[in-house]
């Protein structure tokens, strides 16, 4: 139970990496230029710095995009519970599902009254993520 398929990592293309690297270099250059011209009271200083920050933000975003969620397949198996019930004394045995289990299958004798028990339920429990306001 709880099995998961091996996720495959997204490959980052060398072209994307080169583009990100160039953007970072140019942004840093623009920032330095902005700082240098700021002291000389040049009106372009703020533009340089703005461009530098935007460039850095774009490269960070691109980098995050390329590294974003690895490809995963929806083979995650939920925990399935089997309940074995004694019809006579009401004794309950709850365990994980095993291959071959089915509802109304006769199971092992009851440890309390030695009567044959039966699989009364097989289900999975799902925890809802949150109440929907429009529900």
């Amino acid at each position: 139970m709880g099995e998961k398929a091996e996720p495959q990592m997204k490959k980052i293309s060398p072209f994307s990496l080169v583009m990100i690297f160039i953007t970072v270099v140019l942004s840093v250059f623009a920032l330095l230029l902005g700082l240098a011209t700021y002291e000389s009271q040049d009106s372009a200083a703020l533009s340089y710095m703005l461009i530098g920050f935007i460039g850095l933000a774009i490269s960070a975003y691109l980098l995050l995009q390329t590294k974003r969620k690895p490809l995963q397949v929806a083979f995650e198996m939920p925990r399935v519970i089997t309940t074995i019930l004694c019809q006579k004394c009401g004794f309950k045995n709850i365990r994980d599902f095993q291959r071959g289990d089915y509802i109304f299958k006769e199971a092992e004798p009851c440890p309390k009254c030695n009567e044959k028990m039966m699989i009364a339920s097989i289900y999975r429990e799902v925890k809802e993520k949150g109440e929907e306001r429009l529900g």
Binding site: A44, L71, A74, G100, K105, I122, G135
Partner: protein, 373 residues
């Protein structure tokens, strides 16, 4: 700078401002001419990423089917080639230019397909028993569905890429979220089928099983069992597909035969089935209505409607709501618990709509995998 040129690019003599103005203008012009193409490439990338996910699901489904065959069937030879051949199976629907009699033609095609699938499963897994064979057949069908979804999406993706048609790519991109949901549902169904867990679609079968448990059963149609159960002073003919293997049977034939056996003396039919819920509704909610509650290609619904029309028998429907993912994945607790609510509803319904001593039919529809009787 030449004054006339500098007027085009405000910013005076500042060379950096000029460069950025030029870049901005170039981008503006590029977007005018190539905007649609850029948008198309963005959409293609998105489709490609989803397609890759579908491929992973398809491959995982194939691997799971092969592993299950090896585990339960103990075949003498490697089943991979046979599984690959199975995943490419097609069923050609009958010609509908003259629709008269198309139901029977379709039924015949589906019967042949079913027999073929069962034979294939037997050949692949010679050591498997009847229940395991039914489960294996369901597993293979889920893998087949994943393969078809992947191939169809790949077809339109490549077609869109080849023709650079925005409209093909756009339609594909728009419909993909819904297709992904369906594919994910099949992916989660695979494991449930492989190990024989009850699924959400079995809600109807579970209700019937609870009603007929402990009573004598007999086979009344292909893969359909019936038990005569006293219920609130009425005689209830409770039927379901034969479990615990993955099976839907032919409930249409079962209902028709009971009606014929009783010469139409049936006061009411109650059909219980799982039905797709609307977004916002809770899984396991129960609703009532009239009509034949049964899905599939429509053959069984047609047969039931024909039979009840002949004797003017009222058909009541009780449905358990769930989404497509819940329908084919292991049964949720809410859906399991809904079975008791449905039984209460059936009792109330027959008390209100029938008289003491009447004969009624209660049909639990759905895949009975993991549910005995």
């Amino acid at each position: 700078m030449i004054p006339q040129v500098s007027q085009l690019f405000p910013g005076g003599d500042n060379i950096v401002a000029l460069i950025f103005q030029l870049i901005f203008t170039a981008l503006f012009v590029a977007f005018i001419f190539y905007g649609q193409r850029i948008q198309m490439y963005v959409m293609l990338r998105e489709v490609e990423s989803r397609l890759l996910q579908l491929k992973l699901m398809r491959d995982e489904g194939r691997k799971m089917a092969i592993a299950t065959i090896k585990e339960i069937g103990k075949p003498n030879e490697d089943p991979t080639e046979r599984v690959d051949r199975f995943l490419e199976y097609i069923a050609i629907t009958p010609q509908s230019m003259d629709p008269t009699g198309i139901v029977w033609k379709l039924e015949h095609v589906l019967d042949v397909r079913d027999i073929r699938f069962k034979d294939e499963a037997k050949l692949m897994a010679p050591e498997a028993d009847e229940v395991q064979l039914n489960n294996l057949e369901n597993t293979l069908e889920a893998a087949l569905a994943l393969n078809i979804i992947y191939k169809v999406i790949r077809h339109f993706y490549l077609l869109g890429k080849k023709t650079l048609s925005l409209y093909i790519i756009m339609q594909l991109q728009m419909v993909l979220p819904l297709i992904m949901r369906e594919a994910e549902a099949f992916a989660s169904a695979l494991k449930a089928f492989a190990i024989g867990q009850p699924i959400g679609d079995g809600a109807g079968a579970l209700v019937a099983a609870k009603l007929m448990h402990g009573h004598e059963k007999r086979r009344i149609a292909k893969d359909i069992v019936v038990a005569t159960v006293p219920l609130e002073g009425r005689i209830a003919h409770v039927l379901k597909s034969e479990g615990p293997g993955g099976n839907v049977g032919k409930p249409g034939d079962g209902i028709r035969r009971i009606i014929e056996e009783t010469e139409g003396k049936i006061a009411a039919i109650v059909m219980i089935d799982a039905a797709l819920k609307l977004e916002g509704e809770k899984p396991g909610d129960v609703a009532e209505g009239v009509g034949a509650a049964i899905g599939g290609p429509g053959i069984d619904q047609f047969k039931i409607e024909e039979s009840v029309l002949k004797y003017k028998i009222p058909v009541n429907a009780v449905i358990v709501k769930e989404d497509i993912g819940d329908a084919v994945s292991p049964m949720r607790k809410e859906i399991f618990d809904a079975a008791d609510t449905v039984i209460q509803r059936i009792k109330r319904l027959i008390l209100e709509r029938t008289k003491k001593g009447d004969s009624i039919i209660i049909a639990g529809i759905g895949n009975t995998i993991g549910i005995g009787q």
